[in-house]
């Protein structure tokens, strides 16, 4: 049978030569290898102090986006919920009242927007589906928790900080997104 890959290595079943059956020369060779590793650079990354940069296309926690004036982009069209293969997104739409123009960009907005992070598979299809650039996946990994309930992220957990009142928080949440220009 032909091997599927060229990675498999046949086991060497030849009987030991005299030098090998003495063990000691081979042991010394082995010990030379281990001692050379003793002084090599270590592969460990001491996690909390030292963090590995994520890949440019890393998909982490969701963020609900705002425009430059701090208005929510989301219009509760439901395309993200429809696109979601894990059915993790729930939303309820509401109509914008007069006087709320500085809160929501369009006449319709999401009154309730929840993502169940236990269901979510971080595929990014919601981001692809969104016509308003209202949802995107950030570079933050979902933090652990003791309760299932806490994994259902409400709108408050998901919304990006307001760029008008908290520009630093906004910039931090946007991350490398604006500089790298990898969307379209």
């Amino acid at each position: 049978m032909q091997a599927l890959t060229n990675k498999s290595k046949p086991v060497d079943r030849r009987p030991m030569t005299f030098m090998e059956s003495l063990y000691l020369p081979e042991i010394v060779k082995g010990m030379a290898i281990t001692i050379s590793h003793f002084f090599k650079k270590k592969a460990t990354i001491s996690y909390p102090e030292q963090q590995r940069p994520f890949s440019r296309v890393f998909r982490g926690l969701h963020v609900l986006n705002r425009d430059e004036e701090g208005r929510e982009n989301c219009t509760a069209c439901g395309l993200c919920a429809l696109a979601c293969p894990a059915e993790a997104i729930t939303m309820e739409a509401a109509e914008r009242k007069i006087g709320e123009e500085n809160l929501y960009r369009e006449e319709k907005y999401a009154a309730r927007y929840e993502i169940n992070m236990l269901r979510c598979i971080f595929c990014g299809l919601c981001e692809e589906a969104c016509p308003k650039d209202a949802i995107y996946l950030s570079e933050t990994i979902a933090p652990p928790n003791f309760n299932r309930k806490e994994f259902i992220y409400k709108k408050d957990d998901l919304l990006i900080p307001n760029p008008v009142t908290d520009p630093e928080g906004f910039a931090k949440a946007r991350g490398e997104r604006d500089n790298k220009n990898y969307k379209k």
């Binding site: 063990y23 042991i27 010990m31 290898i33 003793f38 270590k42």
Partner: protein, 348 residues
């Protein structure tokens, strides 16, 4: 009355020495666990424990505290007396061996000469053999009392391994004894200080002794009785809490003592190479001697770990082949050749 007079100072001095040496062996054993983890990590391109204290130096304390607070389980089907006796015996025999090791030349305090050796008995090496041979009982009793098939298998393996390798160990020592003409470890060290280290005269004997020491300590590649992946830690399996701690500790103490014995028998003990100790004041010489011996011991402990993290475990038949068909004939040849050479030289 003079016959019954007791030298109280001597008793005090020996008690102090015992306390110090036991403390040192325990501390060394503690930090051996740390060193083992660090060495293992470094050889596998990792960092190892580094969270508890600077460089993880408090890790052994954390491990010890953890062991103390673990639930103490005695299986209902086990023999309770023997179950407790096993680890105690292992620990006891491990600690007993250090009694005859000369740690350094005597120190002088207030005109009193204090030898840094608990007992300079004239059967030093025989004593070590006797106690080490008893060490396997700790393991066997523990394994038997656990009433568990894996433990029992491990006990059987351990016993047969120790018995097989003790023969070669003894034979390699006989060649050394013909050379030194004494069983007292102190005399052996003093001879080496005068005539050069025994490793020069007995390289093959040293090699056999080293291999057998690995086997006696149940260290990889001879850790068949522990065999994590086939016997589930063997005789440790039913043990928890500090009883497990005792077993693990006794292994590390054994390693420390074996290193000390190897250093004493073949590498001049507390002798500092290329230095005439008699030119120094006795106290300085004693302190330097302790340091020299400790450095030698540290090297051998490192060697133990180095080998453990390099070699895979022997299979049981390979172990027996090596012991009976290779080491014992080699040790016999070594002994006969040594005897012939000594005879030849003495007749000239």
């Amino acid at each position: 009355m003079s016959l019954l007079a007791i030298d109280w100072l001597l008793i005090l001095e020996k008690l102090g020495l015992i306390a110090i040496i036991i403390t040192i062996s325990l501390v060394v054993a503690m930090y051996e666990t740390y060193a083992e983890r660090k060495v293992a990590a470094f050889m596998q391109d990792r960092i190892g424990p580094n969270r508890a204290g600077p460089f993880g130096l408090l890790q052994p304390l954390a491990d010890g505290v953890k062991l103390f607070f673990k639930e103490e389980v005695i299986p209902s089907h086990s023999n309770k007396v023997l179950f407790v006796l096993g680890p105690s015996l292992a620990m006891l025999t491990a600690m007993m061996t250090c009694a005859v090791i000369p740690w350094s030349s005597p120190v002088e305090i207030g005109g009193r000469v204090i030898p840094l050796q608990i007992a300079d008995v004239n059967i030093g090496i025989l004593y070590i053999f006797a106690v080490v041979a008893m060490g396997v009982y700790g393991m066997m009793i523990g394994a038997w009392a656990s009433n568990n098939k894996f433990s029992l298998l491990s006990g059987l393996r351990g016993a047969s391994q120790v018995i097989s390798y003790e023969l070669a160990l003894g034979l390699s020592i006989i060649a050394l004894l013909m050379l030194t003409g004494s069983l007292s470890l102190k005399t052996i060290v003093e001879q080496q200080m005068a005539d050069g280290w025994n490793i020069i005269y007995q390289p093959l004997g040293f090699l056999i002794f080293l291999i057998c020491a690995f086997a006696e300590c149940n260290r990889a590649p001879f850790d068949l009785s522990e065999a994590e992946n086939e016997l589930n830690m063997g005789y440790h399996q039913e043990y928890s809490s500090m009883k497990l701690g005792f077993y693990l500790f006794s292994e590390y103490i054994n390693m420390f003592i074996s290193s000390a014995i190897i250093a004493t028998l073949f590498f001049g003990g507390y002798d500092i190479p290329f230095l005439d100790e008699s030119t120094l004041s006795p106290n300085v010489a004693a302190i330097l001697g302790v340091v020299a011996l400790m450095l030698k011991i540290c090297f051998f402990i490192f060697l133990f770990m180095w080998v453990r993290w390099t070699l895979p475990r022997f299979r049981y038949d390979q172990l027996m082949n090596l012991g009976w068909k290779k080491l014992i004939p080699l040790a016999l040849i070594n002994m006969v050749v040594t005897a012939l050479v000594i005879l030849f030289i003495s007749q000239k």
